[in-house]
């Protein structure tokens, strides 16, 4: 059964770096698992922890937030602030027994199509080991 489990990943990709990075992965025909559903945001700083929780609640098994490298943010400091926020959220998730590794924050620049592919591949492998997300909404 566990082998058949295909994790759902929601990816919040920053418009200026990571989305272009994912685009590059596509145009260079690099293979990566189709489990990720990407959502383009204008900056990784746009990602409210509410979004991440909503994704986990609605059935995502993992959430990837990807932004520009430190110092490269189009809006100067968005990625630094997200970094703080996600780090705290992960600590809190760990306290509540949702595996903190279900949330991932990565720096992917526009030229790193290869990195984007490898990040997604690794993440899918990790999630397959973890199994389905326990927070999934209870359907009444």
């Amino acid at each position: 059964m566990t082998e058949k489990f295909e994790p759902n990943i929601i990816g919040f990709l920053c418009n200026w770096c990571s989305y272009a990075g994912a685009d590059l992965a596509g145009t260079s025909r690099i293979k990566y698992p189709p489990n990720i559903k990407s959502i383009r945001v204008m900056c990784s700083g746009r990602v409210d922890p509410v979004f991440i929780l909503e994704a986990l609640k609605k059935g995502a098994d993992g959430v990837l937030v990807a932004g520009c490298h430190p110092g490269d943010c189009h809006y100067q400091s968005g990625n630094y602030k997200t970094n703080r926020r996600i780090k705290l959220l992960k600590k809190l998730l760990g306290e509540l027994a949702i595996d903190p590794d279900r949330v991932k924050f990565e720096y992917v620049s526009a030229s790193e199509g290869q990195k984007f592919a490898s990040v997604v591949t690794e993440f899918v492998d990790e999630l397959k080991k973890m199994g389905p997300n326990p927070l999934k909404e209870v359907k009444v």
């Binding site: 929780l53 909503e54 602030k81 780090k87 705290l88 600590k91 809190l92 927070l135």
Partner: protein, 327 residues
Amino acid sequence: MVDNNQLREAVKKTISRDDVKYVVGYEKGTYGFQTTPCFAYKPEDADKFIFSPLCVHNLSVFPMLEEKPPLRKGEEPDKRKIGVVVKGCDSRAIVQILQEKGLDRDKVVIIGIPCTGVVDPKKLEKMFPGHIKNVEVKDDDDKFAVTVDGKTQKIQKSELIPDKCKTCEYPTPILYDILIGKEIKSNKNEDYKKVNEFEKKSLKDKWEYWEKQFDKCIRCYACRNACPLCYCKECMVDQLNPQWVRRSVNISENTAWNLLRAFHLAGRCIGCGQCERSCPMDIPLMELNKKIEKEIREMFEYEAGVNAEEKPLLAMFKPDDPEEFIL
């Protein structure tokens, strides 16, 4: 021990000022172990003010609860100040609100009371179950003198004070206009004993614990309403479009609410314990708050509600913030 007469004098003086609208303080409650917040609009009202270890509420919510109805044409806005009676922890809440620019410093008059710890009403009620007549509790060095039905008992403080008072680092208000009594220095230290112990548990044990706790939650949002720092005009749980948290009471929605509540207080919670006190289902909410507080202290060396000049934690960054992975 706080001199009630001195407090009443200070309140009288404050409310006599022309630029003060009202003063919030404590008065004797209608029954049992309770005190209730009370308001003084006239100097005579000051006579009912008291301070005892039963004054558990954090009154710094009141300046934020102030309703501001739209003005009629030609009407002047009410620029008068509000007086608040605060303990050490309550003053931190005010400092934090000032830091976030939720309130102007010249909009409040702060009457500070150095406090050596209050009573946990739930613990006291367990000791004297079903008691509905007024009870007097006095501070007596390291004991509380509890008078029930005319009989006075001395009970060790450590048995009655809530956890937050056991590790209180700021017994004297940080910010005040008038201080009643003498400043107290704290010799206590926040050691996060409970948090550290809980961290050692496995993920499965943790979930078992919290599942049981969150299952109790009835989502009355008392924790939010009692919190001095939950003052958003529209809380994210009240939003309908998009609706982040559904109204249904089930484990995943309850978990989401409690997690988001704790997260929205990250770097802002000052540990006054009002959420836990007001919770009708006895969910240990402070454990979540303390966990975040500890992580913030370790990672960013930051403490909420101490310095009003500092920038809020999540609105700033340092280039040398700790990283979990190598770039």
